[in-house]
């Protein structure tokens, strides 16, 4: 092989690699494995979602919230999920964490153990319309007037963060907490927490 041929081959290889590198690829990855995630953020990852949910559900069960309530009132407690508070610097975080936690709690408990009241404003507006239609006879109604659930507890998510940077590194310590508040007495019945710290590095070209 001549020198020219070797160089030409090198150039073609180089161009090939360049073109391949420009293509868009998407790969399905395990949400539990954030080590495989090419994103270099110090913010929340999908694995945190799973870890935090498992931790809080385990704490909720360990505290025997449902058993204690049923022993007292002979009925399952009603929990209303209220507006979460996001004091991190990452938007779109609270909703997914809260949805996941409630879905897991519903999945891992029986309706005889705990009941949930849906308080999202759009759902509340639809329920109000539906109830009105039933009252006026526009829609069918079951026997006996039923009313909306009054909550025994509020479940509130609160995410806080301590974010610091020295220009080269960004560090975020995120505290995920879920608290259960007695709606009669404002007693904090339960507070589940999980703490995750991450550090990411920025190249000098971006400082």
């Amino acid at each position: 092989m001549t020198k020219t041929s070797i160089l030409t081959l090198f150039v073609l290889l180089f161009l090939g690699v360049s073109v391949t590198a420009c293509g868009n690829e998407s790969t399905r990855v395990d949400p539990k494995d954030d080590e495989e995630d090419p994103i270099q953020s110090s913010g929340p990852y999908s694995s945190d979602l799973i870890e935090v949910t498992n931790e809080v559900v385990a704490q909720f069960k360990k505290k025997k919230i449902s058993e204690n309530f049923r022993a007292r009132y002979n009925d399952a407690p009603i929990i209303a999920v209220i507006r979460p508070q996001n004091d991190t610097r990452f938007p779109e975080v609270t909703q997914i964490f809260q949805e996941n936690l409630v879905a897991e709690l519903l999945d891992r408990t029986e309706r005889t153990e705990v009941r949930f009241s849906q308080r999202d404003s759009d759902v509340q507006a639809e329920i109000a319309k539906e109830k009105e239609a039933k009252e006026t006879g526009d829609r069918t109604d079951r026997t006996g007037r039923r009313t909306k659930l009054g909550a025994d507890y509020f479940l509130k998510a609160k995410f806080s963060t301590l974010s610091v940077t020295d220009g080269e590194y960004e560090s975020d310590t995120i505290l995920y907490t879920f608290e259960l508040i007695d709606t009669e007495t404002d007693e904090l019945v339960f507070k589940g927490k999980h703490l995750i710290k991450r550090v990411s590095e920025k190249s000098a070209v971006y400082r």
Binding site: L7, S41, D87, R89, F90, P91, E92, G167, S203, V205
Partner: protein, 417 residues
Amino acid sequence: MKWLISFALPLLVLTGCAGATYNVAESMRKGGYKQVLEDTRNIEEFPERDQTLILNWRAHAKMGLGYQESARNDYLRAWNMMNNSAGGNVAAAYAWNEKSKYYMGEPYERMMNSYYLGLLYYMHKKPEDAMACFRNALFVDTGDLEANEYSADFVPNMIMRSRVYMDRGDEDGMKTQLEELARLPHDERNFDSNCPWFTVQAQKDANTLIWVELGWGPYMTAEGRHGEVRVIREAEYSERYAEVFVDGQSLGRTYKLGDTYFQATTRGGRPMDEYLKAKGIAKDVTTVAGAAAIGVGIELARSGNETAGAITAGVGVGLLLYGLLSSAEADTRCNVLLPGQIHLMMANVPPGKHEVEVRYFDSNSREIGNMRQRALPLLVPERGDGMLVVRSDPHYKIPLNEKERAENPYAKSPKLR
């Protein structure tokens, strides 16, 4: 000769990647926000290194045309790149041209992206997502506090955080935020400290915020022998303040609360500035050394040392090409669609639908007639804030209702692909 082309081609490919790909200022001159929207429909057609900047431009264009929900999606996509990514093409930025790197924005640009995303979340009744964005805006506007570096001083962001605290019913949070605002140095280049809405009571009394944006944000030029010195320039515009009318009644003149040129120029230098200066010197040295090595190589070949001559000349060609093709020019890409100044009007307006008029004035308090905006729709809810973001552009559109706000900007334009 063939092997010379073989060497030169990859270098040309690399350096050829570094040019500007979209002239948004030209598009704005040609057809305003509509032109920008049309040009940027397919973001994937642009090089990856510019996509985040173009997403920000498209978001501004969508906001200017009233497509607020779609604008929010673009700001969020850009936000993820600017805050969750490690960037890209870093090696090429060092070796060849700084413009090769993926744009992630200077601190003030990252701050403004977060601020706009927060405003849109707030207007779309997602106050907690808004709060996160405003917090991030503070974070990216803050340097290494242990090293006594820059602390956040963008007042519109602080006012918006106060509004979210109030929405939460957290008066202590609002008070703490306003105290932080009160500790800022009173620098007229940054904000007007006579603004009457920096107290807890004033915040509680108001239920309407009208953010009025004036002029254009800073732009950057590459100066020096090799363009290695990046200079931040202030855009020229004549509007200096505005007067706001609701249902024909004047609420008074606006107060300046933010200045993007001030924000851009108060974060000190960057490590890359020193590197580019050194690279400019290295570029001169390698060009001269390369030319000299080629000469020596030719002489060696003439005197019978053909192999040594070829190697020396080859090294010379490599050095010469690197010197000629690499660039020490600073990256001047920036978000030129940002406003120059951000003003505020706060008031207590009865709940319901209202019409807003904004008049703009120059430094001599003369109205700039062709900028007047009439019949801007304002909806003040029973609970929470009525809010408008307007710009000193008579074509700036405020969506009339939820449907318009959520419309797909490309749904009604068959001209677009």
